[in-house]
């Protein structure tokens, strides 16, 4: 379990101190795939680098299985870092070593005998699906293949935690998917806790179980992906989850409600049945809907008719639905 307590990081810069992280509190459970999302500059990289103390927090605690890394001696810290692997956007492979030797590297550092290291490295090459690249140099690989080698290298130290800082941001969508699949697979098969840093919500949707939203160094929302995605509570959350915002038709509307889908129902049947069952027609003012782990999530803005009784009928009907929550939007401005 990873716990960050009252973590803050201040960078002294030419024009005064810059607080990149302020009072972050976060708990990441064993076996989670935990997403940390935020706009560029929100402090995501800084946060993940604090987890293995590549960046030393200015204040606060970093607890891994209850042990505060801030208190460790340099030697003990190095020991602990071996159980926290990290992969990077730019892969950061050793360019003058073959893939096999790259994967052997962490074992070499840990003092694993060369023969055994090689044997295990070959197994990891297999896991990441590149058994024929043992003797290739990183420069001869595509970006996706390089990231696979980096993942194999990250696994080689038998880690409890895998930190991924924008691990797929340099890759095309198809390759991104396959790498995410691999990470998910590793999480399930080896039970490794994964922390995924990204600015792409699609990545979170694809694999994460939990998510935290970071905005200008503050952690504004955290919870399961379902919770946060179905009903983001903060402006920053909504901006990330629904980047397009709500698009509005030109019809004048009396009152507006936000209908939030929490998985299960899908959208069109609901609107259709609203019309059929209650005979009430509503305007769809905007919708942003998505599919998370096979379930429907998202929200929709509905404009209700002027007629008060019809509007009430529609509200009651919507409230009766399962997996749907409804809230009025009091001062809606197109």
């Amino acid at each position: 379990m990873i716990e960050l307590k009252h973590l803050s990081k201040v960078f002294p810069t030419a024009d005064g101190d810059f607080e990149a992280l302020s009072d972050i509190n976060l708990t990441i459970g064993d076996g989670d795939i935990f997403g940390i999302v935020g706009m560029s500059g929100a402090g995501k990289s800084t946060l993940v680098r604090c987890i293995n103390l590549l960046e030393r927090p200015t204040q606060g605690e970093v607890l891994i299985d209850g042990e505060n890394l801030m208190d460790l001696s340099p030697a003990r810290l190095r020991q602990t870092r071996r159980s926290i692997s990290m992969i990077f956007q730019q892969f950061n492979l050793l360019m003058q070593r073959t893939c096999l030797k790259n994967i052997c590297f962490p074992m070499e550092i840990a003092g694993v005998p060369a023969a055994e290291a090689k044997k295990r490295a070959l197994e990891y090459l297999d896991i990441v699906g590149l058994p024929d690249k043992a003797n290739a140099y990183p420069a001869q690989l595509s970006g996706g293949q390089k990231q696979r080698i980096a993942i194999a290298r990250a696994l080689a130290s038998n880690p409890k935690v895998l930190l991924c800082d924008e691990a797929t941001s340099a890759l095309d969508p198809t390759t991104t998917r396959s790498i995410l699949k691999l990470i998910q697979d590793i999480n399930r098969r080896l039970g490794i806790t994964v922390v995924v840093i990204t600015h792409e919500m699609a990545v979170v949707e694809e694999i994460c179980t939990h998510v935290a939203i970071l905005d200008h160094g503050h952690m504004v929302e955290t919870g399961t992906v379902e919770e946060v995605f179905s009903n983001p509570k903060t402006e920053a959350g909504r901006r990330l989850v629904f980047p397009e915002g709500a698009r509005i038709d030109q019809f004048p509307v009396a009152s507006v409600v936000r209908v939030v889908f929490n998985g299960g129902s899908s959208y069109e049947p609901l609107i259709a049945s609203l019309a059929i069952d209650c005979g009430v027609k509503v305007n769809i003012l905007g919708a942003d809907t998505r599919n998370v782990n096979g379930k429907a999530f998202g929200s929709m803005l509905l404009g209700l008719p002027e007629d008060k009784s019809e509007a009430a009928k529609a509200m009651n009907y919507l409230r009766a639905q399962q997996d749907v929550s409804v809230e009025e939007v009091p001062d809606y401005h197109g």
């Binding site: 870092r81 990290m86 990077f88 950061n92 360019m95 003058q96 420069a139």
Partner: protein, 261 residues
């Protein structure tokens, strides 16, 4: 002109002159080799200290110490080589027992060339990707492991190229040392050309030096290229294997620093 050609012929055919030339080649080779090995070793150590010891380095050293090393290197680099040699010859005299001849020139050569090598090494080491060093840190490497297993191996091609540059520079310095009592081809060229106006012999000696430089440079470049497994091109296009290999070669040629001439 005839005189010049005759002198040249003499240098190439007369047994005594031939012997002198061969001696000169031998002296040049071994003094250059010895001075290069020592200068590169010293330069490598200094270069590693310069990079690893700075404030943001993998093993920061006290600031005043770093400042001191930098200043000493800059001073040694800024004194003209011949003057530095003249100053250093008497310093090393007690150690070597003589201040003329080939061995006498080796240690001063080392002291004069090591700071230059240190800067070449420094430049090569700084080219290692910060991200790779960070990755190594995240794996729990000690500073020594990062230097020994990451920084040095990753910059090997650049280091080798730097050492070749050092070798050739030291060959040139060594020839100039002929002016102040050093041995080798440089001394022959200076003796005959400058002192005796025998330009034929001087020309032969100079051509021999040029040939040595060409040979060292060619071999050195080949080695540096064969050691490099990077593709510097970031185009990231997928290529067939054959094309890729061609590309590697092309890029390797490009990646040899201009400093090597």
């Amino acid at each position: 002109m005839d005189k010049f050609l005759n002198q040249m012929m003499a240098a190439l055919t007369e047994p005594a002159m031939q012997q002198e030339m061969l001696n000169g080649i031998w002296e040049t080779l071994y003094s250059t080799a010895a001075a290069t090995v020592l200068a590169c070793l010293l330069g490598l150590i200094l270069g590693v200290i310069l990079v690893a010891g700075e404030k943001e380095g993998v093993r920061p050293l006290p600031g005043p110490l770093m400042k001191f090393i930098n200043i000493v290197i800059n001073i040694l680099r800024s004194v003209p080589f011949l003057i530095l040699m003249m100053m250093l010859l008497p310093v090393f005299k007690p150690l070597i027992g003589t201040s003329i001849g080939t061995p006498a020139a080796i240690l001063p050569l080392v002291v004069a060339a090591a700071p230059f090598v240190a800067r070449l090494v420094e430049t090569s080491l700084r080219e290692v990707d910060k991200g790779v060093i960070e990755a190594a840190q995240s794996m729990g490497c000690t500073p020594f492991q990062i230097i020994w297993k990451v920084i040095l191996p990753e910059s090997k091609p650049g280091l080798v190229a730097g050492f070749v540059t050092a070798l050739i520079t030291i060959l040139g310095y060594g020839s100039m040392a002929g002016f102040i009592g050093g041995g080798g081809l440089g001394k022959i060229a200076i003796n005959y050309g400058y002192n005796k106006y025998n330009y034929g012999v001087m020309f032969v000696a100079v051509v021999l030096i040029v040939i040595l430089v060409q040979v060292f440079q060619t071999i050195g470049t080949k080695i540096a290229v064969s050691l490099d497994h990077r593709i510097t091109d970031k185009g990231g296009k997928r290529r067939s294997k054959k094309e890729t290999l061609g590309k590697i070669k092309e890029n390797k040629n490009k990646s040899i620093p201009n400093g090597m001439r």
